[in-house]
């Protein structure tokens, strides 16, 4: 019996690449939106040894979908207007209603695109028009000419359509690392950051790829510049209620500032200065100044809220054990080569 033949035509366009265009035309300023009202004076909890207590599992889910670079139409405007926020809130409510449908419609068709509900959803609309909060245009500063040749990380060619080896996959796909910024910037799921404190140390366990950043609070100089790693050498200290973490000693040319550490890789001169401030029981203000003098003409700052949600927890991310995608992608490429050879 011959298999039944059904012709299905489906055109799906998914454009999910991070935008890295430079110097867009600035749009005229829209009705002046107000920055979120400053949090009223709130005294946060302290640990038994007297440090500000920022422990818990936090997520950047609220800013899922917020672009790193600000779309040109917003110009220098960092925050949405109240009307724009209301529209976005209504959209989230519609998504939430749709997501409650456990079963799909009887006429649902098969397709190759992943559905939106595979990922996490923002609970509230992100107030920001971009993750970049400084410079005022919300755009990545100009890239230095020498950095433009650094498009492909060493030993990890991203997205090779015909991978010959495991080395042709990014560090993310290989379950190795997403880098510091790639581990905390919001992506479609796995945005949990579990913070655990002890006297003299803060540890951040990241949900996806499951890296634990152990940050000593003793201050002092970084380790020798000869000692380098994917996640760098972190040193933390408290400035009032703010945890300040300075990280250097990165291996250059491994991960970038795009989703999951993708995009143009940063250099070994990268210095990150992160600031974590608990501004309410359920919100941490997160900011990171990115200073990479071998890549960008000037430092710039990314910021967004990290929030706590009832029931949110870091599920185990035992990535290596279940990474069938690696085997399937390599065997798929070999099958394609074999087919092409047979056609010759």
């Amino acid at each position: 019996m011959k298999p039944p033949v059904v012709i299905i035509i489906a055109i799906v366009v998914l454009t999910a690449l991070p935008a890295f265009a430079q110097n867009p035309k600035a749009a005229p300023p829209a009705a002046a939106p107000k920055a979120p009202a400053a949090a009223k004076t709130w005294t946060g909890p302290k640990t038994p040894w007297g440090d500000p207590d920022i422990q818990g599992t936090w997520t950047s889910d609220d800013c899922i979908g917020t672009p790193l670079n600000r779309p040109a139409q917003f110009g220098d405007r960092l925050y949405y207007t109240e009307q724009e926020l209301a529209d976005r809130e209504a959209n989230l409510a519609r998504q939430a209603d749709n997501d409650k449908q456990e079963f799909v419609a009887s006429d649902a068709r098969v397709g190759t695109g992943p559905p939106g509900h595979w990922g996490e959803r923002a609970r509230r609309p992100c107030r920001q028009t971009s993750l970049i909060v400084d410079p005022p245009n919300g755009r990545t500063p100009d890239v230095l000419p020498e950095a433009r040749t650094r498009r492909v990380p060493e030993g990890a060619g991203n997205d090779n359509p015909m991978p010959a080896s495991w080395e042709d996959f990014s560090y993310y796909i290989r379950c190795i690392t997403r880098g510091v910024t790639g581990s905390i910037f919001p992506v479609i799921y796995g945005n949990g950051q579990q913070i655990v404190q002890g006297p003299g140390f803060v540890t951040i366990l990241q949900e996806m790829v499951h890296e634990a950043r152990v940050i000593p609070l003793k201050g002092g100089a970084h380790t020798s510049s000869n000692i380098r790693s994917y996640m760098g050498d972190a040193r933390g200290h408290w400035e009032g209620n703010t945890l300040v973490v300075e990280t250097t000693n990165f291996l250059g040319n491994r991960t970038g500032l795009g989703g999951n550490g993708g995009g143009m890789p940063t250099s070994d001169a990268l210095k990150l200065t992160e600031r974590f401030t608990r501004v309410s029981p359920n919100e941490l203000k997160y900011e990171v100044t990115i200073d990479d003098p071998k890549t960008y003409v000037s430092p710039f700052k990314v910021g967004f809220p990290l929030t706590q949600e009832p029931g949110y927890q870091n599920f185990e991310y035992a990535c290596h054990e279940g990474n069938n995608a690696m085997f399937n992608s390599l065997s798929g490429a070999r099958a394609q080569e074999k087919t092409a050879q047979e056609k010759k």
Partner: protein, 136 residues
């Protein structure tokens, strides 16, 4: 087997452009959009593993011979937070699976829709009408 495994022909003008976001699930690298599959099967085991869950299935052919298939589902975190639990696909459950076969021709597929014997349908992975992942 040939009756239960109906291979549909598809004309699709796409290659997923979302690889950097769905990097662990690079559909176009692993699966063949021109090889849709649809077959009845019995659940053997649901594997709750990252980056994506897998469902082990037994497919019985016309000759009575049983073939093992593995069908990829969403990330376990996404399934759990969506309400799936350990009883959602119990061993022994009879289901109809629709998806796309692995490029290497092995008995693996990217799951799209599961239909239970009472007619209810459940998204396992892909949706032709899905809005896709949020943009970065």
């Amino acid at each position: 087997m040939r009756k239960t495994l109906a291979i549909l022909t598809i004309a699709i003008g796409l290659l997923l452009a979302a690889v950097p976001v769905w990097a662990h699930h690079a559909f176009s690298a692993e699966f063949d959009a021109s090889k849709p599959v649809k077959f009845r099967a019995t659940v053997v085991k649901m594997e709750w593993i990252n980056p994506h869950a897998w469902i082990q299935l037994d497919v019985k052919g016309d000759d009575g011979k049983v073939t093992r298939w593995a069908v990829e589902a969403a990330a376990p975190n996404a399934l759990l937070r969506r309400g799936w639990n350990k009883t959602s696909l119990l061993p022994g459950t009879e289901i109809l699976v629709e998806g796309f076969q692995a490029k290497d021709g092995s008995n693996k597929a990217n799951g799209s829709i599961i239909t239970f014997t009472d007619g209810k349908k459940l998204f396992v992975g892909s949706s032709g009408d899905g809005e896709g992942p949020p943009k970065q």
